[in-house]
Amino acid sequence: MQRLILAALLIALFTLPFTFASSVTIATLIFAKALAVLGIFVLLQAGQVSFGHGMFFAAGAYAAAYFGVVWRAPDLLVLTVAVIAISGVSGLIIGLFVSRYRLIFFSMLNLAFSMVLFALLEKLFHYTGGTDGMRIRRPSLMGYTFSRSDFDMAMFYYALILMVLCTGLVWLYLRSPLGQALKAVKVNETRLEYIGLSANHTLLVAYVFSAVLAGLGGLAFGLVQGLATPDLTFWTRSGEFVFIAVLGGIGSVFGVFAGTAVYEIVRFYAAALLDDSWQLILGITLIAVILTVPSGLIGLPARLRAAFGGARTNGKDKA
């Protein structure tokens, strides 16, 4: 049953350009953001919240801009590999430091690093274009250069494939011993140490993985926007990722996509109306979700079933 739903969802997503052509761009942005949210989701398994993953998101976009300048029209696949390397290495360097910490320190140190990057991107305008940011050139793909409309379509499939692949990878990773050990970090680090595994190293692996996911998300996001700006690493951006991950629920990797899609669609239609109070609404929703349904969107059906389960059985009995 679950496989059937998954297959149907995949078919629906891959045929989206033919069914809802107008939604291609917003769908691409959803996939890109979902990648970054996946990164937060991975860390949430260890009970850790990063308020600073916007820094890797920005790193992905700025890397695309930078390589566009250096290599003229870089190949999309080469660019992808380059971004994986850059976000992975920066994730490793920052991770070596932050993976020694948990909870408050972990969250706040990530926030601090992202704020530093934000300030640097704004300040070093000779290299980064300051607040205006850097233009990102359209890449080519194996010798093929895209026209404007081709490129939108190509980006749609690029981001979709990336997201599907990464979702699958995260799913596999979390089932593997290392992923299960990550969940153990949240629960009992002492026992983990006493079966011969370092909790810090386990978290570090997850951190590097999450940095790469956010980097790839930033790459896709930047390519679609054609622009890399400092606000990609502003705290509101990182907060948004955390918001979506919590909203989607930490129980299932599929909640990430569901959460991102719901979030972006609501924002897309509500933006004009609520732009001034968007952050306010997010904050209030987040508080409400945490206080009432801590398991998030994916956990909502189960909660409802539990709450109304009794009533439903009674109804059946009468029938």
């Binding site: 919240v49 706040m108 601090a112 070093l124 907060g239 987040l286 508080i287 206080l291």
Partner: protein, 301 residues
């Protein structure tokens, strides 16, 4: 770098550190007692600043004596701390003390999002200025350098008064003793009849007032802008973490260290100004993972 420039940088640093200390000590006090890191602390700082600018601006516009802006700064800080901080503790934090620390962190982060937005809705994005207190106190000369008395006398004095007052309050008053008792052993304190809820409330309001006071006192020296709250929360965390979270005396030293290092960076390598506080924090934490005065606590197994 000439000695004059070095002296200016030092004075700058001290005045900046005084403000930093006020905010950070509130953050660290709340953490020490409640065990909650209030991410919205930066918003209290910003709202305190906006309130001070609004109140002071109104007084000035009405043609009142500029000296009245001093009580206005205090009033703005206390009003913000008691109202915003009080409401926050009473209606939100109280529900989450027993919850998972991750959720506590998320809730205060959510409050931060809300307050940043509310602040923008109320005060817009235009910068506010209110330099009356600065001008009222005039300049003083120190080793041949003219400097505003507000920054080099008033702010440090306020910081030291706060430090001394806080120490006296915690060590020599009944309310303070109750706070210390709850911090050390909540269960034991409750069993001898201390109302832990009340202690949490009072502590949080005091911490909130300190943040707002930092904001209010900063108003005469800087323009009040959106985003100042976000910057301050990470900065004050850097100070508190460098000192060791929960350590009040250490926060003063850490604030001085970071404040002075930052202002020297401004004069020597302006590009590194934003980096400096975090560089210091990272270096200290690499050396002592729980901060200068923090102790690693082993879990009992």
């Amino acid at each position: 770098m000439t000695t004059t420039l070095a002296l200016i940088a030092l004075l700058d640093g001290i005045s900046y550190a005084s403000l930093l200390f006020l905010v950070a000590v509130g953050l660290t006090l709340i953490f020490g007692v409640l065990g909650v890191l209030n991410v919205a602390h930066g918003s209290l700082y910003a709202i305190g600043a906006y309130m001070a600018a609004t109140l002071g601006g109104w007084l000035t516009a009405q043609g009142y004596n500029p000296w009245l802006t001093f009580p206005a700064l205090m009033a703005a800080a206390i009003l913000t701390g008691v109202v915003v901080g009080g409401l926050m503790e009473r209606f939100l934090l109280r529900q989450i003390y027993e919850k998972d620390p991750t959720l506590q962190l998320l809730i205060t982060f959510a409050v931060f999002m809300v307050l940043e937005n509310v602040q923008r809705m109320v005060w817009g994005v235009q910068p506010y200025f209110m330099s009356e207190p600065l001008r009222a106190l005039g300049n003083i000369e120190l080793l041949g350098i003219r400097y505003t008395a507000y920054q080099i006398v008033f702010l440090p004095v306020m910081a030291i008064l706060t430090m001394v007052g806080l120490r006296y309050f915690l060590r020599h008053t009944l309310a303070g003793a109750k706070i210390v008792a709850v911090t050390e052993d909540r269960e034991a304190a409750t069993s001898i009849g201390i109302d832990a809820r009340k202690v949490y409330f009072v502590t949080f309001v005091i911490g909130a007032c300190l943040a707002a006071m930092g904001g209010a006192l900063a108003t005469p020296t800087t323009s009040v802008l959106p985003g100042m709250g976000a910057n301050m929360i990470v900065l004050s965390f850097a100070v508190a973490a460098t000192a060791g979270l929960g350590n009040i005396e250490g926060a003063l030293l850490a604030a001085l260290l970071i404040g002075v290092a930052r202002s020297f960076a401004v004069y020597i390598m302006p590009e590194t100004e934003v980096l400096m506080p975090y560089l210091i924090m990272v270096l200290i934490l690499l050396w002592r993972p729980m901060g200068l005065f923090g102790a690693v606590q082993a879990r009992k197994i």
